[in-house]
Symmetry: C3
């Protein structure tokens, strides 16, 4: 467990650098990320490199005992490069190039940019690959930010055709897979195929899904090129990329597979403002963020990181980019930092050292204010650094891996598929996955987030949010694991080609759940269908969606809950459970608690503002509420952080017995 | 009265065809619509026709005793045609071509497409025009769907200029008609005129209205071309087109004038979701549809059809294209079918035989599920088929024409004019027409929907929703008919050129209603103006609009209701009635009841979920509510469908005495 | 004080002109504005002028004793000119030309249009510059209407580069001023710079602000060209332009500096509908307009006019261009007219003489209906004309200048800066300025609206809505004036280059207010932070924004109100007051009342519908409410308009003692 910071020497007079490095070190910071937006300073004119300033900056940091996370600067190609190769610019859905003047103005499929990236990455990696201060690398910055994964350029379409040839081999196979006979959409050759955009009404969803898969693969291919260059020039230094919170526009599992460290950028208050949360929740958690949002991302990125994941950018104060930007309550920067460590983080790195007084992000806080005084976030970082030392001294395994008995399956293609093919306007996959996760966290569980292809061994409970395309071997893995598994509605509802399975949903899950979803309904937000759980007094509502289930005659399925009109709302078959609707939050939590108990776990109802996490020998408690929380049954001597009385915005950690 | 179905042999293995045909016949289906999207299979490459599969498909259907409704496939030109003639694509308001990849990607004004359509239609009509199984034709499919009536292509502008020359003869006449002296918009020649789009602020409304009229005429011209080809090659077979529900983007009276059968596509649940209804109504009628929506369309298309109108596509279960897509309650597919027959339908044809597992509409139900089991809608269709036989056996005139004593005037140009020139942001003509219709239906009346040019003879009551441009002879036709006539606000408010009449509104209605509308107001949705009906206790509110009426000195007008500030809200002169505002639903219904009584009719208050229709010897009762409805005063022996107790979603039919 | 009207002889048969002129004169109208949209009649073909009709029209008006306000017709270039020079068209943010067919279809930076404008202005000015009936001039019409200040044409970008060269001299200076090192946005030459549009995410705010400044300067340059031509050909005739209500897209102070008369177009009901007011306020003031909206604009334009300002266009009845268009209550046209005079107007000119029956504005009322009968507005204008004569007879100084002891600073760049760089989505500068103004008016004060560069001498109280860029000498002017000054939040928060001041906000105000705003928060609309005023029972809420203030140790600042978490909400230092948030309306008014009393003024709480204004010897009272207002303590003999009992929509004026 260690702290880091993001730093931009090029933004400040060189006279400040030494003092900055000294103060970072004094604060307890160990690593410093630099240079991800510095291309115009590294190569101010075509082929003219200016290494001198960067050499000096790295030396200053290294001499102060700091480790450098060196970045490739490809997120911001300079104007002269764009003017020479305008085909670098990505193209929007209207066919318009997206211009220079901010960042990420490049197309992953542009051959010009691929070559230019190769050149600058090689230059940077060659110069600093073996520099003693350079300990880690970051490729580019926040792939896909500002909706830049998908481009509709001629270059993208050309590569898409190649991608399709590789996938389908023959045009007839493609026409069948997409069902192009419908509406006479049949192609005679791959060269007739365009991007699925600008059509009179919706384009074929299979065509759209393949375009999303292609675009995602382009990101992975581009990143792999950078990783290969870095590894060639800087052997032994772990390579990272900084992903974004709840970002789903490319398959992160595929990109992470080429990295050593998956890292992400955590802005809990900005996220609360931007995401789907109701206005009352946005008020309740205004200055703390939602208690499950950062941890959901921690658990997502922990799962895909070979080395312990990092928070590459941690919100240190108000940000500038949400619609409204409140300030964290005092204590929250510390709380967020410990939350990351409790979920397995190797490093928490604050963005940024000092607030810049100019350009787009001048209203984004840093650890220091623009007039170079340490801000609240800076003071809290210093406290975290002290606490890390205390914890490390007390517990050798504080850096241990997290071990969870509960897994949540999280899938990127599911997001694209439901977005392309929603059937109900508000069928928002990440929200549903989050709501399942949040119910599990409110029951006190540590949760691994895993891909649908992962082994399920070792889990007692696996929760599967709506998963339209289920891998063929999934049922076998469930059976092998012995875990109880809960499927959300629409699971198994589509083939890989985005068609309805021949025997109807749940398709390949029929061996686990011998039933047939013969009809579905999507429901307006003002509709709630009453649900009663058989042989209990538990009642609640289904929302948004109903799978109408035919259990068949002589069925061995146990119908555990029904809608008012008699249709099954929740069925069980052995250790497999299927929810035919999206239950209200309370009912979801009640059902998860019941199933978890059946799976041999011990759920503990925490409510909406207390959260508990375990790592190594320690149990961490986080208080997102407005009242003191008293921890019962723990010896005072077992606390290494805080005490039995956890203040609002407070953290406690004690030895788990 | 007979049933039909829409079928896509090209979507299924040929091995299924014979069984499909046999089961259709066994279900009671008599006609099968095919091939409207099959161009890529009929002509897979330029000039290379593949008739073999279609020959076999038609033979299979014909051999099973089914009649074929053959379609021209022009709604979906194949990719090779678009690549050869990119000018086929329609152009949107931003000047961007609307691309290939879905359907209706053609411009009605494209000369290339006009020729290509002529060729394919001739080929299809020549091959199947005299086939014994082919009994009817359908031109194209759903003209105008996905906002495709209006295009801004160079071809459209060129034809618009010709259309203007034909209408105005001289540019001076056009400048005067449009008032182009305003803002120096005067043209020196027709060649200077562009489409009324992309202007800095709103374009001249007269210019915009003429562009809409032109675009509508282009649809009629295109359809006429197809009809002429079919008639030449397939004499004696009625020609139909399938119009859409509440679709107003072209003048349906003009297109229907060239057809034998006006048909429409009825999706009551999709319509409820898409249209203006308040959220509470969308919840109330979630799985039934609004009780007056389908019948409004039945009455619209009955009026313009030479032969009895059809429902060409009847919703059989959930659809895929609304924002949310619930399932019909059991019984509704039967209820909707009988509702169509009760309103005069010759055929109800379900869309589609079997749900497709692929492409855009894979979530659209059919009579059979994708795994080829008969779905609820299929079972209900079978029941309807039996009931048709029973009714036909009992009543020789069950197929008689509907005779209504009440007419509602419905006008397409009024929609365009108010859309272009609203003066109040929510002045939505189809909604107001529907609300008047719904009030009449809630009073138990059968209603003919007629154009403003129709004879009014034989009607006791004619209701005219806001009709801005009143034909010159309308007042004379009213007088000749002896009917009471009720005008909505803004009637007679514009000349044909979209100018204010010289003596102010109601323009040509002044002979019926000697008054002057000297000022108007549009009102925000949160404003309701109290109205009191003189000499009664009836009160209510006017919404959205006020015509301020000057009754003149020594007026013979009877002011029957006033606003709180004294302005007339409802005036009567002889048998002519004028509403100066849009009353709330309850007050509208009360006033219609009063006027209908004065017109010698007997209104009967039915409430919001019971509806009654009469055709031939039979009275039909439909229950859209949640409670059983008991029919009083009818002899049990007179029922041919159902009984005195009409269940929710139930239908009854009895002999009218 | 005199009345005028806007007239379009070209819209009407010449046979009406003499009667029109006679009736205008009889009504009490003295001046007539003409020809601002008549280019296609003045020059129907390139270089072919038709002066005859306009000569006759001016003669008819002049012979009737009316003075003509002659206009340049440049707001509506004719089609032939656009076809010859398509580069005249402005270009939108998507790069699309904004086409012919309405008005204002020109780019201020187009060299073609600059030349064409010079030619037509010279022709008109030369012909009528010395005509005895021509007493005034108007340049163009409503600069910027329909969002036409900013264009993204190549011509605009070319001129922007020149503008930047003039401002920054070197590209390094520009890169530093904009902070282009951030995100590698550095330029190597001015020729690399584009318009700040179409970027992947937000463009640099400094770049955007400079583009707005440039576009504003282009308007001033274009107007100056016209003024120079008119002055050369028509010496001694005052030149005016008609600005728009609450329009902020260019710096009106700069354009007005070149004019003799600042005039504006007053449409109180359209404004109420279009602006930010809550639905309940839009209902409350539906047919009167908001009591402070027209006067705010009067005070804005009074401040920038060398001669007494005019209302060039006064709403006479319902308009056509708001979403909903109700009619003014009887009396309001008179009330609005007197309100203008009470605030210092030299002329109130009604738009328009007669409602046109054609084209875009056919639903816009005039003083006469289209059938040429005098409408309510016409009758009220006649009454105002009589009252002007009575007042003038009674009080020689009725035309005196308004003298206010309270000033409100109003700044155009502040609007652009906060729009570009809001930090909180609803940070809407004109609204906040208006709310401060409205609070002052509700306390009975006359208010001068002044630029930040104005002298503050003579004022007792100066109110400064959020002013991000404070002139360097502002603090000195405050000190020199002796006035109390109240600053809104975010004042002094930015440098001229849109950077954070080196010592943090309030930047150059630190000499007045020795403090440091070390952090800010923007708050969602559903957040209200409780505020308590020290040593009082006054409480209320802060909304939308919080400046967190560090008063420093040993501070001399008086913290007069605090938020619940202890942060200062309102601080005072000597006569300088700083609000750290936007208080709710009631608390704002209470604090202004307290500060005004401290400044030696006597606030008087008027409530939400009564307003009082003073000019010369007279006090005017306006009743926007629904109840009679009784004026106490005024002698009946002192009334020159109305009496002690002011009816709803009524006006009274009495001698101020």
């Amino acid at each position: 467990m260690r702290l880091g910071v993001c730093y931009y020497p090029e933004h400040w007079p060189e006279s400040l650098w030494e003092d900055d490095a000294r103060r970072m070190k004094a604060l307890g910071i160990e690593q410093v990320r630099i240079a991800e937006f510095a291309w115009s300073r590294i190569e101010p004119a075509p082929g003219e490199y200016d290494w001198a300033w960067l050499d000096r900056a790295i030396d200053v940091l290294g001499n102060a005992g700091l480790k450098v996370v060196m970045c490739t600067p490809t997120a911001t190609p300079p104007k002269w490069l764009i003017d020479r190769h305008p085909d670098i610019l990505p193209v929007d859905a209207d066919g318009k190039p997206r211009g220079f003047g901010s960042r990420r103005h490049y197309d992953f499929s542009s051959p010009s940019y691929f070559e230019a990236s190769r050149t600058i990455c090689t230059a940077v990696a060659a110069r600093y690959g073996k520099h003693p201060a350079v300990a880690y690398w970051q490729t580019d910055n926040e792939y896909g930010c500002h909706n830049t994964v998908v481009s509709y350029s001629p270059a993208a379409v050309a590569r898409f055709r190649e991608w399709l040839k590789a996938r389908y081999a023959t045009i007839d196979a493609l026409n069948r897979a997409w069902g192009n006979v419908f509406w006479s959409m049949e192609y005679r050759s791959f060269d007739e195929i365009d991007a699925p955009v600008g059509t009179v009404t919706e384009a074929n969803p299979s065509h759209r899904l393949d375009y999303r898969r292609f675009a995602s693969d382009e990101v992975a291919r581009y990143n792999r090129m950078q990783v290969d260059i870095i590894r060639a020039h800087s052997p032994g230094r772990p390579v990272a990329h900084n992903f974004m919170q709840l970002f789903t526009e490319f398959d992160h599992y595929k990109v992470a597979a080429d990295l050593d460290v998956a890292t992400w950028d955590s802005y809990p208050l900005g996220a609360l403002d931007q995401q789907w949360f109701a206005p009352e929740l946005k008020a309740q958690f205004l200055r703390t963020g939602h208690p499950d949002f950062a941890t959901f991302n921690h658990d997502v990125y922990r799962g895909m990181s070979k080395l312990p994941f990092w928070v590459m950018e941690q919100q240190p104060g108000p940000v500038n980019w949400a619609q409204w930007n409140p300030a964290p309550l005092p204590g929250m920067v510390r709380l967020w930092s410990w939350e990351a460590f409790a979920h397995g983080a190797g490093c928490v790195s604050y963005f940024r050292w000092r607030q810049a007084p100019f350009a787009q992000e001048q209203m984004h806080a840093g650890l220091n204010t623009p007039d170079n005084r340490l801000d609240i976030g800076g003071h809290e970082a210093a406290r975290v650094a002290e606490e890390i030392r205390a914890v490390a001294a007390a517990h050798a395994d504080a850096d241990a891996a997290v071990h969870a008995k509960v897994a949540l399956v999280y899938d990127y293609e599911a997001k694209w598929l439901f977005e392309i093919h929603p059937q109900g306007a508000d069928f928002h996959y990440p929200r549903f996955a989050f709501e399942y996760y949040s119910a599990l966290r409110a029951l006190g569980f540590d949760v691994d987030v895993i891909p649908a292809s992962a082994s399920l061994d070792g889990y007692a409970l696996v929760v599967v949010p709506p998963l339209p395309v289920v891998p063929d071997d999934f049922a076998a893995r469930v059976a092998a694991s012995g875990a109880h598994v809960v499927f959300g509605p629409r699971s198994g509802s589509k083939t890989r080609d985005l068609q309805i399975p021949a025997q109807l949903p749940p398709g390949p899950l029929a061996s686990l759940l011998p039933m047939r979803v013969w009809r579905v309904e999507s429901l307006r937000p003002n509709i709630a269908e009453r649900v009663h759980v058989d042989a209990t007094t538990i009642e609640g509502h289904g929302r948004r969606w109903r799978d109408l289930i035919d259990v068949g005659s002589g069925s061995t399925l146990d119908v555990r809950a029904r809608f008012a009109d008699g249709h099954p709302a929740y069925v069980r078959h052995g250790s497999a459970h299927y929810f035919a609707t999206l239950f209200d939050d309370r009912l979801t939590e009640q059902l998860f608690a019941r199933i978890a108990t059946e799976a041999g776990l011990a759920p503990r109802v925490l409510g909406d503002s207390l959260r508990v996490s375990r790592r190594g020998a320690l149990t961490y408690v986080f208080n997102y509420g407005e009242r003191v929380h008293a921890i019962d049954g723990v010896d005072a001597a077992d606390f290494v952080i805080g005490s039995r009385e956890v203040e609002p915005q407070g953290v406690a950690a004690y030895r788990t017995r």
